[in-house]
């Protein structure tokens, strides 16, 4: 069943101090869809939500709700509610009054307010917290109050700016399920922001991958993972080996010093391309039976599987396998046609590649995550 477009962004550009924060962004969102904006810090996710909520007008381009141009419509007249990145709870109200705020503004009768707030408190698992001072709650509890405060209004569209960032892993998983259920039951359109790719892939109908104010790819989680459009998306979502290659002809891609049968077509013969091979799609075999041959340089045990780095002609491949291998072992690699994904060259080509700086990369990633938390 094809649903109607509920929100449309048309050629949106936003600048701050001469810096383009959103660059010619276009996007349409269907009624009842769970859309996730995924991108690293500072790529313009919050800015996009602020445009939709009405706190910011685009420098050029238009926002449409149900086909109506929203330029000049103030936030309080838009059928949207936001769960803010930093909660923004009212410090002078207790938990109950915070959640009741929107209902009071709408002059809902007291009995109904009580019923709906109680229902929300149950939903976010904060029964008995009615009288508590919101400034004295933990980060996770504050976040849940913020979720309840927006949800109680049953908006048509809910904007969620990294609503689960402050929760511990267990609560986070629970809330992910909870939010997903709420979304399914209510049919509210969710526009969700995260920089956690796993969260994005597991929750959404549609993922919008952003970088530097531009949309890199829009698609279902499976498409985004299996058919990344450029090297940025391939690198950002999951692990990937990204190699320079040449399309010799349809169904024939050459990289790592030889040609492989593949499933991609539609490139110019001899066109330079980026090749993506996911670590879990490579099979390790005996050295003399593989299509490629290399030396294991590092082995990391991760519980379910091993992460193995194999050096082939100076390019470090990451491979995930359940079999144990030893450092220094010479192994053969088999890459099936469906494991090879061919992408057009983009400005990100060459920026992401092999895993030669693997351990460094892990370290910097950890540091970034810690800084953000």
């Amino acid at each position: 069943m094809e649903k109607n477009t509920i929100i449309e962004l048309k050629n949106i550009t936003v600048e701050f101090d001469g810096e383009k924060v959103l660059d010619d962004m276009s996007l349409s969102i269907r009624d009842g869809e769970f859309v996730t904006f995924l991108g690293s810090s500072g790529c313009g996710k919050t800015t996009t939500l602020r445009l939709i909520a009405g706190f910011l007008e685009p420098d050029s381009g238009e926002v449409f709700f149900d086909g109506k141009n929203m330029r000049g419509v103030p936030p309080y007249k838009r059928e949207v509610n936001t769960i803010f990145q930093r909660y923004a709870l009212f410090p002078h109200y207790n938990v109950y009054e915070n959640i009741a705020y929107g209902l009071r503004v709408r002059k809902v009768p007291e009995a109904q307010i009580k019923e709906q707030v109680t229902e929300m408190l149950r939903l976010v698992n904060l029964q008995g917290f009615e009288k508590r001072n919101v400034t004295k709650l933990s980060g996770g509890q504050q976040q849940r109050v913020a979720i309840a405060r927006a949800l109680v209004l049953k908006p048509k569209i809910l904007l969620l700016d990294e609503p689960l960032a402050a929760l511990d892993l267990k609560l986070r998983k629970d809330m992910q399920n909870e939010l997903k259920n709420i979304q399914k039951q209510t049919g509210i359109t969710f526009i969700f922001v995260t920089h956690d790719q796993e969260e994005a892939l597991s929750m959404s109908d549609t993922v919008v991958v952003m970088n530097e104010g531009k949309i890199q790819q829009i698609g279902s989680p499976i498409d985004i993972y299996n058919e990344p459009e450029n090297a940025f998306v391939a690198d950002f979502i999951g692990e990937s080996n990204i190699l320079d290659g040449i399309m010799k002809s349809d169904y024939n891609a050459c990289f790592a010093g030889r040609c492989f049968p593949c499933l991609d077509k539609g490139f110019e013969p001899g066109e330079e391309v980026d090749i993506v091979v996911r670590p879990e799609d490579v099979d390790i075999v005996k050295a003399d039976q593989g299509m490629l041959r290399g030396t294991v340089t590092s082995v990391t045990f991760l519980g379910v599987h091993f992460e193995i780095i194999v050096d082939i002609g100076g390019f470090k491949w990451m491979i995930q396998t359940t079999d144990e291998h030893k450092e220094g072992e010479v192994v053969g690699l088999v890459i099936e046609p469906d494991a090879i994904h061919v992408m057009k060259k983009s400005k990100y080509s060459g920026q992401f590649g092999d895993y030669s700086s693997y351990s460094d990369e892990i370290d910097t990633l950890n540091v970034i995550e810690e800084e953000e938390n």
Binding site: A53, G54, F55, P74, P75, Y76, V80, N81, T82, F84, R86, A88, L89, F90, P91, H92, Y101, G102, R104, V105, R106, R149, A150, L153
Partner: protein, 272 residues
């Protein structure tokens, strides 16, 4: 480590000494004078005499209350608008608010005397158009006006300070939840700026209720406030005992009214 270290106690000592020398001891002296007669004998006479000043007390409180409320009504919207301006405009407006404070209170009040007088600037101006001179000086209105004029910065500044610190995201979240300008003001800005209102109220009301200079100069001797009464006992009648008992009662009444204001506003910490 709950006990304070020796160093901490040494560091705190000057302040404790200062407080003892300039706050506690003078208070004790006031109390002593209030309950003694001219010969240093314990006596309730001064307290009994206070009955004669009931009217003066009432007028003082009435005028300063009116002045403080009007000041609040002017200052609140001003501080609100000011907090919404750009940083540069905010600095300029702040300068303008503070500017009169750089001048001495006496000089400011004296100038107003010249402006409001029977033959003052305003009446001279009106005369040019054949308009009857207005009686301004010597009226309660002039005294109240003087209080407002002199103390309005003490109302604007604390309200502005609190308002400019209100987290912008709270205002956005109010709008997001459906509040238009008025409802945002009532449900978010007003309650969050209450501490500023209370300290502004205190800082205008207290000096207004105990002023004597403003009432002398702009009241033209016809408006006698409690400050004038105290001044007269001290400067003219040399009755320190009665002066002290008037001061004591004034202090106590101010204290009580401030506690009431705080309770009324539902704030836990006393701002006096």
């Amino acid at each position: 480590m709950k006990k304070r270290s020796f160093a901490q106690r040494i560091a705190g000592a000057p302040y404790i000494l200062w407080a003892a020398l300039f706050i506690v001891i003078p208070m004790a002296i006031v109390v002593y004078y209030a309950f003694t007669d001219a010969n240093g004998q314990f006596s309730f006479d001064n307290i009994k005499q206070l009955a004669d000043y009931k009217e003066t007390f009432l007028i003082s409180f009435e005028y300063s209350f009116i002045a403080t409320v009007i000041t609040l009504i002017i200052s609140y919207p001003f501080a609100y608008l000011m907090s919404k301006k750009s940083a540069a405009s905010q600095r300029i407006m702040m300068m303008l608010v503070m500017l009169p404070m750089w001048m001495n209170l006496l000089i400011r009040t004296y100038s107003w005397m010249n402006i409001l007088e029977r033959n003052g600037i305003i009446n001279n101006f009106l005369e040019q158009f054949g308009i009857e001179p207005l009686k301004m000086i010597g009226t309660p209105g002039a005294v109240i006006f003087g209080m407002i004029y002199n103390y309005i910065p003490y109302m604007i500044i604390p309200i502005y300070n609190v308002m400019s610190k209100i987290d912008k995201s709270l205002l956005e979240s109010a709008e997001d939840l459906g509040s238009n300008g008025l409802s945002k003001l009532r449900r978010v800005i007003l309650p969050l700026s209450m501490p500023g209102v209370i300290s502004g109220f205190t800082m205008v009301f207290v000096p207004s209720v105990s002023t004597f200079y403003i009432s002398q100069k702009l009241g033209g001797g016809k408006v006698m406030l409690i400050g004038d009464a105290i001044e007269r006992q001290m400067q003219t009648s040399y009755n320190y005992n009665l002066g002290a008992s008037l001061s004591l009662v004034l202090m106590i009444v101010i204290l009580i009214s401030m506690i009431v204001v705080n309770r009324f506003a539902g704030d836990d910490d006393l701002l006096i």
